[in-house]
């Protein structure tokens, strides 16, 4: 169990931040740009090849896996883009694109001399592909023929699947019941196969309404409801859930 999968409803955290800036330090803009370029150059996308030496897959799922694998204290300690910087640097080292030693050494050089000149190089086709990715996106929707087990208004139960590395099922919804609010048209893949967690292949997605009083009995606010978009693998009929409990 990872705390990062169970954030919803945690108590004792103090006031929220009302910081409206997207970036609070200029350096954060650079790691955002690098991440977006990696997504655009990622090898699974059906986009024109470029001279970029980036030959592996990098998607949101990879960034999220990194954040979810952190020690929970570090997750809360480090600011959003600090986590990105750590995760993305680690990816380039782990995949042999750069070495930790050269990154450390060059960090030291830029630390001593922040105005040290940057290398000037690159083929414009790389940047064109980055823009093409931003414009076209990477739709997860597929025309695959799938069966829809539930309809709007159906009462459903949420499974407690074994999510080892990565999940899109919020912890606070596991083993809870809700009502189908929307059956989205078509089928949706996820960015990677999450293994025993169960998503990846094209499947329906439902928007499900939960009563906060069922989620946090006696410990929530009045007159609100919580909705979550959930992949169908996470959803089952209430009868299936009660049969498992009886077994």
């Amino acid at each position: 169990m990872k705390l990062q999968h169970y954030l919803g409803g945690l108590e004792g955290l103090g006031p929220v931040s009302t910081e409206t800036r997207v970036f609070v330090e200029t350096w954060e803009t650079r790691i955002f740009g690098i991440h977006t370029a990696m997504m655009a150059l990622s090898s699974q996308l059906p986009l024109p090849p470029t001279p970029s030496k980036f030959t592996t897959v990098w998607t949101w799922a990879d960034l999220r896996k990194g954040a979810e694998s952190l020690n929970p204290f570090d997750y809360f300690k480090f600011r959003y883009y600090e986590k990105w910087l750590g995760g993305i640097s680690g990816y380039f080292i782990d995949n042999g694109y750069i070495t930790a030693e050269e990154l450390d050494a060059l960090t030291e050089e830029f630390y001593r001399d922040p105005s040290k000149p940057f290398p000037a190089a690159g083929d414009a086709a790389i940047d064109n592909r980055v823009v093409q990715y931003l414009v076209e996106g990477d739709s997860p929707k597929r025309d695959t023929n799938v069966s829809f087990d539930f309809a709007v208004g159906d009462l459903v139960s949420i499974k407690n699947v074994p999510s080892i590395e990565h999940t899109r099922l919020p912890g606070f919804l596991r083993n809870k019941s809700g009502t189908v609010e929307t059956v989205y048209d078509g089928a949706y893949v996820y960015l990677c196969d999450t293994g025993t967690d169960g998503i990846g292949a094209a499947m329906p997605v439902y928007c499900i309404r939960f009563e906060p009083e069922d989620l946090w009995p006696g410990n929530t606010e009045k007159n609100f409801s919580l909705y979550a978009d959930l992949y169908s693998h996470y959803v089952e009929a209430p009868a299936a859930a009660s049969a498992k409990q009886a077994a």
């Binding site: 990154l103 630390y111 690159g122 790389i126 606070f172 409801s225």
Partner: protein, 205 residues
């Protein structure tokens, strides 16, 4: 004392140097170019950003039938407008808009990460990415909205939408009273990213 509970004294200077080193190495190794990062940042300054969302909301305020279409088929309604290319691009391939009313206030959250509708809103502000917000908004949205300076009376239902799959959400705030004589361009200026995520409402200047 364990290091985990301390920050480096040179926290920001170190990160600034490290990200420079990383970008320089990636350029040198032929992974990105010396213009790649600026190309991305420029795209979010000029093509994808909250200026698009503001146009969409202002149109919904002046054209009720557009507002209906925006709620029932969000991408198709957005495609009617003369916005930059890419309105169904990265992180906006499948979007859904929900409208506030006198009886309902909507709030968009992402308890697992920071899913955000890039084409119409650009990049998420820090409040949206904050683990404290993501935790608390799920269980006590009224208390959280109060901290944003937005008291929501108990008679108004709050709907909290957790973006856990691949659909990206935004809110159509209500048109403020006292804006009857305003042009669409003037109305756009009243629409903030916060109002389009539900931690604020639109106000008449």
């Amino acid at each position: 004392m364990i290091d985990r509970f301390q920050y480096r004294e040179d926290r920001e200077a170190y990160s600034a140097a490290r990200v420079k080193a990383l970008e320089a190495l990636l350029i040198k190794k032929g992974i990105i170019t010396d213009k790649t990062v600026d190309t991305v940042l420029d795209f979010f300054e000029t093509k994808m950003g909250p200026f698009n969302g503001a146009k969409i909301v202002a149109r919904a305020w002046v054209d009720p039938s557009f507002k209906d279409r925006l709620v029932t088929d969000t991408p198709a309604a957005i495609a009617e407008l003369n916005l930059p290319e890419g309105m169904a691009g990265a992180e906006g391939e499948h979007m859904r808009a929900v409208a506030n009313s006198p009886d309902v206030h909507n709030l968009i959250i992402c308890t697992l990460c920071s899913c955000y509708p890039w084409p119409v809103l650009g990049l998420p502000p820090y409040w949206y990415k904050d683990p404290t917000f993501r935790s608390r908004a799920a269980r006590e949205p009224r208390a959280v909205l109060g901290e944003f300076g937005l008291p929501v009376p108990e008679a108004i239902e709050i709907k909290v939408w957790d973006s856990s799959a691949q659909i990206r959400w935004f809110v159509i705030p209500e048109r403020p009273v006292g804006t009857e004589g305003m042009t669409e361009a003037e109305l756009e200026a009243l629409v903030t990213p916060e109002a389009m995520m539900g931690v604020a409402i639109a106000k008449a200047a």
